[in-house]
């Protein structure tokens, strides 16, 4: 008899592989995840063309690329993961998984891996695409962009799990991600750079979950973030992520309500 003992990594890999197969078979989610982040930046570009960007020290590229990455985080990671987590709960898959050796955190992380990987690959492709198509110059602080992207991925996985905690059915999972997505698009510096908003409004928007991600990603390309601004952004992102860990531990439901 074989005596292979599973490890957290082997268990999460097995789960992530199955989730990836499922992602490939859920056409609606796949379309929204892959297509929308490629199309919406075009409209952002239209909007950006009408703004006084130069006055705010921005270019079309430094507006469109962070927006595109933001859309990828929202559609390919956040919204897609809310849908798949709720579907797995409805099918009692999460309950079934909990009867085995997987720990709770491994189940959530393994389920999230394909969505997070989609977001990562898509963001890198978008960066490469923008770089070529929009004649962007070499980013002076690319590590900030990478840091922002990674924080964004982890945070969106956490936010998706929190949203799934409060979403009962797959039907409602079509709706429950919308508020955060809408808020982020409008007020986290995706479609509208915070620099051109009134100062008081912008100050509040700094504390929205996706704002620090946008700030860091864009900062990597403009190179104009001070150390204080970087630390502030990282602190907000970490705080949101910590909140999601707390909220998931407290409110996440593994079984449908009856």
């Amino acid at each position: 008899m074989s005596t292979t003992v599973t490890t957290p990594m082997s268990r999460m890999t097995a789960l992530a592989r199955a989730e990836l197969t499922l992602l490939g078979r859920t056409k609606g989610t796949l379309f929204a995840a892959l297509f929308v982040p490629l199309v919406l930046p075009v409209s952002a570009r239209e909007a950006a063309g009408e703004m006084d960007l130069a006055g705010a020290g921005l270019t079309i590229g430094t507006v469109v690329l962070p927006a595109a990455i933001g859309f990828s985080l929202l559609f390919a990671v956040y919204s897609a993961l809310v849908g798949s987590l709720v579907a797995r709960r409805e099918e009692l898959v999460l309950k079934r998984l909990r009867t085995g050796e997987l720990r709770d955190g491994e189940i959530l992380a393994g389920s999230a891996l394909p969505a997070a990987a989609t977001g990562l690959v898509q963001s890198l492709l978008l960066a490469a695409g923008c770089f070529v198509l929009l004649d962007m110059s070499a980013p002076p602080a690319v590590y900030l962009s990478v840091l922002g992207l990674l924080l964004g991925l982890v945070m969106c996985v956490g936010l998706a799990t929190v949203t799934a905690s409060f979403t009962r059915t797959s039907e409602s999972a079509q709706v429950t991600p919308i508020p955060l997505m809408f808020l982020s698009v409008m007020a986290s510096g995706m479609m509208v750079p915070l620099e051109i908003l009134p100062e008081k409004v912008a100050a509040v928007c700094e504390f929205l979950p996706l704002t620090p991600v946008m700030t860091l990603v864009r900062g990597g390309f403009t190179g104009d973030l001070s150390a204080g601004e970087v630390l502030g952004a990282v602190a907000v992102a970490v705080a949101w992520t910590a909140f999601t860990v707390f909220a998931v531990r407290r409110w996440f439901r593994w079984e449908p309500r009856r």
């Binding site: 008899m1 199955a18 197969t21 078979r25 079934r96 009867t99």
Partner: protein, 320 residues
């Protein structure tokens, strides 16, 4: 591993479970299961069987009482217990868009010492269905897939929650034989069922639950022994119950008459049946629809439901 015959693999003491709304589903349950034993939890729907088993599986923390599975608390010491148990939930738990083979591969990746997937799928008769999506399986086939996954890690303890619901009679018989064979190899099995013949066929010991409590527990023979046997027949034309020999002298404890049908209950089946048949022979009448049957679990089961409905039903326990 040294298998100690008398080792209690599962020990449950004063177990309680209360749901969010305050509903008390399990109200002080005690039992233990020895290594290599099949223990069945019977009960009507809502009796608390699944609520109990889920606690044993470690899916939730009990509201009170104590559980030991293989010497550990299945909820707080999850990591120590899970590699040694196999679980078949009451329903589903598979993504509908995965195929049978993909589902088994995923689960095998999460089970220490997993057997080859195809071997287990063959064992439950799903060898030819490996490429089929779970959503296209029949209810019975899904039960078999669930059983296959529970068996993947060659568990020491197997929890089966209604393992044959939705199976046809042949499939049910195959599952019974599979579970018996596992017991013969030393696997400890805790199963819930509402098929009484399933418990009669499989269980070494059983408990009948009612409203969150165990109403009776023991071997199937012990549980049925206290129940009366039954005789029923149609009174011949022109005869009345009064024409029968005195029923008390035949060892009949009570009787009912429904139209021409007479039903007798007795703890002395041979004596009652002989007395009745000798009387019929002498009277020269034929007893139509004569049915003589010894006590079965069904009697015990219905008796408990009736007793409980009538009021207090103290727990009956037989020394095992």
């Amino acid at each position: 591993m040294e298998a100690n015959e008398h080792e209690h693999v599962i020990e449950v003491t004063d177990l309680r479970r209360v749901y969010g709304g305050g509903f008390e589903a399990v109200r002080g349950v005690d039992f233990s299961v020895r290594r290599g034993e099949i223990f069945a939890l019977l009960g009507t729907n809502g009796a608390g069987k699944t609520s109990t088993v889920e606690l044993l599986e470690g899916l939730a923390a009990p509201a009170g009482g104590r559980i030991r599975v293989l010497g550990h608390d299945p909820y707080t010491e999850r990591a120590a217990v899970r590699p040694r148990t196999g679980v078949m939930l009451q329903e589903g738990g598979f993504p509908s868009e995965l195929t049978v083979a993909e589902t088994a591969r995923m689960w095998a990746g999460c089970v220490s010492g997993a057997r080859p997937e195809l071997e287990v799928l063959t064992l439950v008769g799903l060898k030819t269905k490996t490429g089929v999506r779970v959503k296209q399986l029949s209810g019975g086939q899904r039960r078999r897939l669930d059983l296959a996954l529970a068996l993947l890690g060659d568990p020491e303890v197997l929890f089966l929650d209604e393992p044959t619901t939705g199976l046809d009679p042949e499939g049910r018989r195959e599952t019974w034989e599979l579970v018996s064979a596992l017991r013969d190899r030393g696997t400890t099995v805790l199963l819930t069922t509402h098929y009484l013949e399933e418990a009669e066929f499989l269980a070494d010991r059983l408990a009948i639950m009612h409203e969150g409590r165990i109403a009776v527990t023991g071997t199937p023979a012990e549980v049925t022994a206290s129940e009366p046997s039954r005789i029923s027949f149609e009174l011949p034309e022109g005869y009345f119950v009064g024409d029968l020999p005195p029923l008390a002298e035949l060892g009949v404890s009570d009787h009912t008459v429904d139209g021409r049908t007479v039903r007798l209950r007795t703890h002395e089946l041979q004596r009652a049946a002989t007395g009745l048949l000798v009387w019929a022979e002498r009277a020269g009448v034929e007893l139509h629809r004569l049915d003589v049957r010894s006590a079965s679990l069904e009697e015990a089961f219905l008796g408990i439901a009736k007793e409980a409905a009538a009021g207090a039903a103290p727990t009956k326990e037989y020394a095992a």
